[in-house]
Symmetry: C2
Subunit: 403 residues, 2 copies
C-alpha cells in the first residue's frame, strides 16, 4: 500500500447502481495499491469513526457490488451546516481523517453531498490539512446540473417506462367491466424527470400514459379531470403518471392537501397517487386503481439500465483518478458526445458549479440539457397531452439512459 | 380447416402469462387445422358476438403472445348467474356458438370461470347442442383447488420475492437516519400465497420480511406493533409484507376500517399498506415508507418465472387436446411428480371439483397442497415470526414456481 488512505461514503437516497460506483472506486484504488476505507452510513460514519476496511473484502465480494442494489456501506440523510455553524464537526472530520491517514475523500451523492465535499475541502485548505475532496454523482431524480444525467436515474427511468407499459396492457384488458383509470405515482419531489420517463412507455397519441403530471407545472384539477374523462371516452381507459411532487398554483404540495391527518388526528400517508385516484372516483365516478412503487423504483437492480450501470462505474473509476491527481473540489460528470447513437465520456467539473443547484425537467428542447436556459414563463408544451410530452430533451435523455 | 370452431376467452384479472396460454391454444389448434375465434372481453364478447378471428394473425404475432402481459383479447369481471336466473343469456351463448359453428369452448380464468364453463356445458347437454367446455386455469392468487399451482402465480410470486429483497437492501441502507419500517402490500384478497411468496426474499431470521400478515389469520394490531418494534430494536429496521385481504377477528377487512370515506365524505382509496404505515408512525413514532405495486405485480412479464411460463403454455396446449377429444367439463391442472427437483405434468380434472372452491394458503405442511386437509382450528405456526413463515408447503410451492 502506498502512503495515504482513500475514504469513500454514500449519501442520500440509494439507487440500483450506487454500489456499482462503490465497486469501481475500490477496484480502481486497488489497482493503484491505495487502501480504501468506507464510512458506514455516509458522513456520519466519518464523524463516528465507524469505518469499514474494504481491503479485507475478497475480489469476488467487490465484483458483487455491481449487482447489488441498496447502499452496501449504508447511506444517510444528514446535511452539515455552514463551516461557521458546524465548525466542530468539520474539525472532527479532519481529526478522524488524520487518524486514518485519509488524503482523499469521495462523497457519492446528490447536490447536498457535493456541498459537503466542497465545504470540507475548503476547511482542509484553511487548516493546511492535505486533502483532496471529490463529489461522485448519484440520484434517481436526475436533478444535478452540469452532468448529462445522473447515475441511478437511467435504471429508475427504465423501471418506470417498463412498469407503465406492462400495467397499461393490464388496464386495457380489464377496462370494459373493471378499472378504467390507473394512476402511477413516481418519485421526484422537485424535478419531473422520472415522470417524463413514464412517457417512454408508449409512442402513439392514445398509448399510455395519456396524462403526465409534472412538479414543474401547477396542478389544475379541472383540467386534469377533463383530460381523464376525454381519454376514457376516446380510448376506453386512461393511465396517469404523476410525480409525488406536484403542487397547486400557490406552491403547496397536492399530497399535503389534508395536512397529513384524518378527522381523528391519525396520520394519512396516502401519497398523491391514491389522492388523485379518489378524486377521479368521486368526481368522474370511474373505477380506478393506483400504484405507488416507492423504493421499488430505485432499487430494481433486476431491471437496471446497461448504460446507467456503465455511467455508475465510470464515475467511480474517474473519481479515483481525479483524487490521486489531486484535483480537489471536482465531480466526474457525464458529457454527451453524440446524440445518435448515444455516446458519452466522463470529465471533471467544479463542485462550485453543482453544489446546491437543482435542474428541473425542461419544458423546451435544447441541444444540451446541461446548458439549457431556464424554462420560459409560460408552458410551450402541455405535459397533459400525451403527443407532446415529454419534450425532446427529456425523451432523448431518457431513451439514451434507459438502454 | 376441419369442421367446427374453437372459441377461446379470457376472464378475471389478467396475469403476466395468460397470453402465453392464449398463444399455446392457438398454436395447438392451428397444428390440428382447427379455427380459433377469441371472444373480446371474455364471455361478454360471446354474448355480444364480438369475436376475433385469430386465423388472420401471423405466426409471429401469435408467438409474440408469449411475451406480452395483459390480456390480448380483453378480459372481464362478469359472472353469469345460475342456469335458471340467466337462462336467456346461456341460450344466447348457444345461439352465437351455433352461428359460428363453435364446438369447443375454452374459458381461461379462475374458479368463477370454471363455474361458467361447467354451467354452459350442462346447458348444452340439456339442449342437445354438441359442445365441449374446458376450463383453463389462471390466477395470480393461486387459490384454485386440485392444481399444484395456478399459471400466473409463479411470476407474481417471483416479482414479489425479488422486489421485497431489493427494497429491503434500500431500507437497510437508509435506516440509520431515515426509514425504519417498510410496508409492502401484496394482492390476494382471500388467500395468502403471494404474501407467503414475499417470504422468499430472505432465509435468515433477521432477513426481510421480518413480518408477514396473511388474510387467513386475524390481524392483531398490538401483536403487530410489538413485533415491528422488537424487530427495529434488534435489526435496526423492519420490512412488513401484508396481504390486501387481512381482516379483523370479526371478519371485517382492515382496509375498510374507515369505511372508505374521509371526514368530508371523500373516498379514501388508501389500501391496507398505507393504513398500517400510518399506524406504525402514530403508535411507534417510527419513520415509515410503503409500497402498493398493484397491477405491476401481475403484469411484470419482464420478470416472469420460466416455470410459470411453461405451465401457462402447457395448460393451453392440453386444453386443446382435451377439447378435441371431447373431454367435456374438465380443466388441465398441474400435477407435481417430484418435489426436488421440481417436476410436473398436466392432467385433466373435473370442473365439478374446482368450480367455486377456494384454496387458502395452508398453515401446516403436507406432501401435496392439492390434497391438503383443511387448516386446523388454531395456528400451528406464527406467520409473524419470520423464522417460521411461510410454512414448508407454501415455501416449496413458491420456490418451485419462481424458477
Amino acid at each position: 500500500m502506498g502512503k495515504g488512505t482513500l475514504l469513500y461514503a454514500q449519501s442520500g437516497g440509494v439507487t440500483a447502481v450506487i454500489n456499482a460506483t462503490a465497486g469501481a472506486v475500490i477496484q480502481a484504488a486497488r489497482a493503484r495499491k491505495v487502501k480504501v476505507l468506507a464510512a458506514r452510513n455516509g458522513i456520519l460514519g466519518a464523524l463516528r469513526e465507524d469505518l469499514v476496511d474494504t481491503s479485507k473484502e475478497s475480489a469476488a465480494a467487490i465484483r458483487g457490488l455491481a449487482h447489488t442494489p441498496g447502499g452496501a456501506f449504508g447511506s444517510c440523510r444528514y446535511k452539515l451546516k455552514s463551516l461557521e455553524q458546524d465548525q466542530s464537526k468539520y474539525q472532527r472530520l479532519l481529526d478522524v481523517f488524520d487518524a486514518h491517514d485519509v488524503r482523499w475523500f469521495l462523497y457519492n451523492g446528490g447536490n447536498d453531498s457535493a456541498d459537503t465535499a466542497l465545504k470540507l475541502s475548503k476547511m482542509a485548505a484553511a487548516t493546511g490539512y492535505p486533502l483532496t475532496c471529490i463529489g461522485v454523482p448519484k440520484t434517481v431524480d436526475n436533478d444535478l446540473v452540469v452532468t448529462d444525467c445522473c447515475p441511478g436515474f437511467g435504471s429508475a427511468a427504465k423501471y418506470t417506462a417498463v412498469s407503465v407499459a406492462e400495467a397499461a396492457l393490464d388496464v386495457a384488458a380489464m377496462a370494459d367491466t373493471s378499472t378504467k383509470v390507473f394512476v402511477y405515482e413516481v418519485m421526484g419531489r422537485h424535478a419531473g424527470w422520472l415522470a417524463a420517463a413514464g412517457g417512454l412507455a408508449g409512442t402513439g397519441k392514445d398509448d399510455a400514459p395519456q396524462v403526465i403530471l409534472f412538479p414543474e407545472i401547477a396542478y389544475d384539477e379541472a383540467k386534469f379531470l377533463a383530460r381523464v374523462q376525454e381519454t376514457v371516452k376516446r380510448v376506453g381507459w386512461c393511465v396517469v403518471v404523476v410525480s409525488e411532487g406536484i403542487r397547486h398554483a400557490d406552491g403547496r404540495f397536492v399530497a399535503d392537501a389534508g395536512g397529513g391527518k384524518d378527522a381523528f388526528g391519525h396520520s394519512q400517508l396516502g401519497g398523491v397517487g391514491p389522492l388523485l385516484a379518489a378524486t377521479v372516483k368521486d368526481k368522474l365516478g370511474l373505477k380506478v386503481h393506483w400504484t405507488v412503487p416507492d423504493y421499488l423504483q430505485r432499487s430494481a437492480r433486476h431491471l437496471a439500465s446497461k448504460t446507467d450501470l456503465a455511467h455508475a462505474q465510470a464515475v467511480g473509476k474517474a473519481a479515483v483518478e481525479y483524487a490521486l491527481k489531486g484535483m480537489n473540489g471536482v465531480m466526474p460528470v457525464i458529457v454527451r458526445t453524440s446524440q445518435k447513437p448515444y455516446r458519452w465520456k466522463v470529465e471533471p467539473a467544479a463542485l462550485e458549479r453543482i453544489a446546491n443547484h437543482e435542474r428541473p425537467c425542461p419544458r423546451v428542447s435544447s441541444t444540451n440539457p446541461a446548458t439549457a436556459s431556464p424554462p420560459p414563463a409560460g408552458p410551450t408544451w402541455n405535459p397533459m397531452v400525451r403527443g407532446e410530452a415529454p419534450p425532446p430533451t427529456a425523451r432523448t435523455a431518457c431513451r439514451a439512459t434507459c438502454g
